[in-house]
């Protein structure tokens, strides 16, 4: 990848904030656009050595087939489940009206 700096626009930051569902102030967005640009300039260094012949590693210690027997355990009571809820009713978590649709 060329060495030219990667400008990240305020719009891009706003889009990312929407994906990450974080309300940001205009000042935060401006600030983050600048910071992100400089961080990304540094971290894209990874592309220099990440050639196609190198396999990706997602786990530091390779394991496979780690399973749990199909047995009941760790069940919380309704009281425990709701113990940290900001709002609850009828044994359920209560939230404000939902705007968007199910995915």
């Amino acid at each position: 990848m060329p060495d030219e700096p990667t400008p990240i626009s305020a719009e891009q930051v706003q889009h990312l904030a929407n994906l990450a569902r974080i309300a940001l102030t205009p000042a935060e967005i401006e600030h983050l656009a600048v910071e992100l640009g400089s961080i990304v300039d540094n971290v894209r260094k990874v592309t220099e050595v990440a050639t196609p012949d190198v396999p990706a590693t997602s786990h530091p210690i390779p394991l496979s087939n780690v399973f749990r027997p199909d047995e009941v355990g760790d069940v919380l009571t309704n009281e425990e489940a709701l113990s940290g809820a900001p709002d609850a009713a009828d044994g359920r978590f209560r939230v404000a009206a939902i705007l968007g649709e199910e995915q």
Binding site: L19, N65, G73
Partner: protein, 499 residues
């Protein structure tokens, strides 16, 4: 809703070729959830079937349910799929209140099963091969209840309540490749495909597959392309069509709706659509857009699933016969005509038939009882015939009738008793005292009593008017409350006349 312009189905098919695709979600009937030890049970008080993982509590970690993996492999094999040597989980990231972690653990680039084919039989026996792209493991979301507003629907609600009992229930999502060539039978194929998947998962025993409970959910994709055009049209995805009948209707509706738009020179919007059972229409949902960026990446809390060749061989060996092969075999064994056999399939009673015959009943008798009296009761009650009585009891009932211990009419009364939960046919016979009276002395006593009030009957018989016996037989049967063998009564009356 309902305001959509529709082209007639015939005209739509004449002008456009429908291309189908299905995503069927199957809830696996494991004891516990996909990634936690919380019970996988339908219903229950809200938020009582939850472990920390199911609520996405900070610090909680998923661990894969081994049984769910075995079920998924079995299902993949039954769909004719290859099983991946190495398969892994990925996170699908999006925010929604029913998704506790705000990501769904699913599979993305390395599904457990891929490249399969399912043979689907249409009503007239035509076989269609539906190509399967993949079957992958994932977790279900919780349930939302929208409160306030008139409809109980999301729009207009004042607030919503979340129950995570269903969150983390293991799912297998079966995705087809595009299905071409269904033409005017596209709606029928859609229904038959979903029914086939249902039969397969039931025969495997990996899911209860009760659509009304959401054990089996179908998202139907459909696009139209003008005749002669190679490029596929824009598709819509109709969500959560949750009965076989609805699948057929929804596809038919979408074909007509899309055709009307295309016919008027319009364009189809790529979107999800919602099926409305009451009106038989679809309505627009969420448009697909660039904003759908799920940021899939390998789930770092879980390791690859690498099924051994031995495990795959073991599960393959344990596979039941495919529903299609099962049907072919039974029809040959029973010697039924295509039409006789299709009645059984359409009534969804094949498994019951098979078990009834296996328990000793003659195929013709089994068919007669299941499609006759039992189906009649089921239809009257609006339930599945298979839920009324067990095949074993049906075969016992048939045996009682065949041996002459019950008449057909008594048999129907016994059936009523069994359906009412009074026990096995033998128990009902005993409890209700319904056995045929085979004691000639009792019958002769009743005959003599009848003859006493109709003294001229014997003379008429002797004069050759044998049909005069009917009046006596009727009176005897009435006196015996139907619990007599009419043929035997007739014999006895005729003997009396000759005496």
């Amino acid at each position: 809703m309902g305001a959509d312009k529709l082209l007639s189905f015939e005209e739509a098919i004449e002008k456009y070729e429908p291309v189908l695709g299905f995503e069927v979600h199957v809830e696996l009937s494991t004891k516990t959830k996909m990634f936690s030890g919380a019970p996988n049970e339908f219903g229950g008080a809200p938020n009582t079937h939850v472990a920390p993982v199911d609520l996405g509590l900070p610090g909680s970690l998923p661990v894969v349910n081994e049984q769910a993996v075995r079920y998924a492999i079995s299902l993949g094999l039954a769909l004719g799929c290859s099983i991946a040597e190495s398969s892994r989980f990925a996170r699908k990231n999006y925010f929604y209140p029913d998704l506790a972690k705000n990501y769904q653990i699913s599979q993305y680039d390395e599904p457990i099963a891929f490249e399969g084919e399912v043979e689907v039989e249409l009503d007239d026996g035509t076989l269609v091969r539906v190509p399967i792209e993949r079957a992958h493991m994932e977790e279900d979301a919780g349930k939302l209840t929208h409160v306030g507003g008139a409809t109980g629907r999301i729009h207009g609600a004042e607030y919503s309540l979340v129950d995570y009992n269903r969150a983390g229930v293991p799912l297998v999502e079966i995705v087809t490749k595009p299905i071409f060539g269904a033409e005017d039978r596209a709606p029928e194929l859609a229904r038959a495909y979903v029914a086939t998947i249902r039969d397969i998962v039931r025969s495997l025993g990996v899911s209860e597959a009760r659509m009304e409970r959401g054990n089996l959910r179908c998202d139907a994709n459909i696009s139209l392309r003008p005749r002669g055009q190679e490029k596929l049209g824009t598709r819509t995805e109709t969500k959560n069509v949750n009965s076989l009948r609805s699948v057929e209707r929804a596809i038919r509706y979408e074909i007509q709706r899309q055709a009307a738009i295309l016919d008027a020179g319009g364009t189809i919007i790529q979107e999800t659509r919602h099926w409305h059972e009451d009106t038989g229409t679809t309505s627009p949902g969420r448009p697909k857009s660039d904003a759908d960026d799920y940021r899939y990446f390998p789930e770092p809390d879980l390791l690859p699933v690498m099924p051994s060749k031995e495990l795959i061989a073991e599960l393959r060996a344990a596979l039941p016969e495919s529903p299609a092969a099962f049907r072919r075999r039974l029809q040959a064994e029973y010697g039924f005509t295509d039409s006789e056999f299709r009645d059984i399939i359409n009534a969804n009673l094949l498994v019951e038939m098979e078990q009834t015959v296996a328990a000793g009943a003659a195929p013709a008798q089994a068919r007669k009882w299941w499609l006759g009296e039992i189906l009649r009761i089921a239809n009257a009650r609006g339930v599945e015939a298979g839920t009324l009585i067990t095949p074993l009891h049906v075969s016992e009932l048939i045996a009682l009738v065949e041996s002459g211990q019950l008449t057909d009419r008594l048999g129907r009364q016994v059936l009523e008793g069994v359906v009412a939960g009074e026990g096995s046919p033998d128990e009902v016979v005993k409890a209700r005292g319904l056995a045929v009276v085979s004691d000639d002395t009792a019958l002769l006593a009743a005959i003599d009593e009848a003859l006493a009030s109709q003294p001229d009957v014997l003379d008429k018989i002797r004069d050759g008017k044998v049909q005069a016996a009917g009046a006596v037989i009727g009176a005897v049967m009435k006196a015996m409350r139907g619990q007599a063998d009419a043929a035997r009564v007739r014999e006895l009356v005729l003997e009396r006349a000759q005496a």
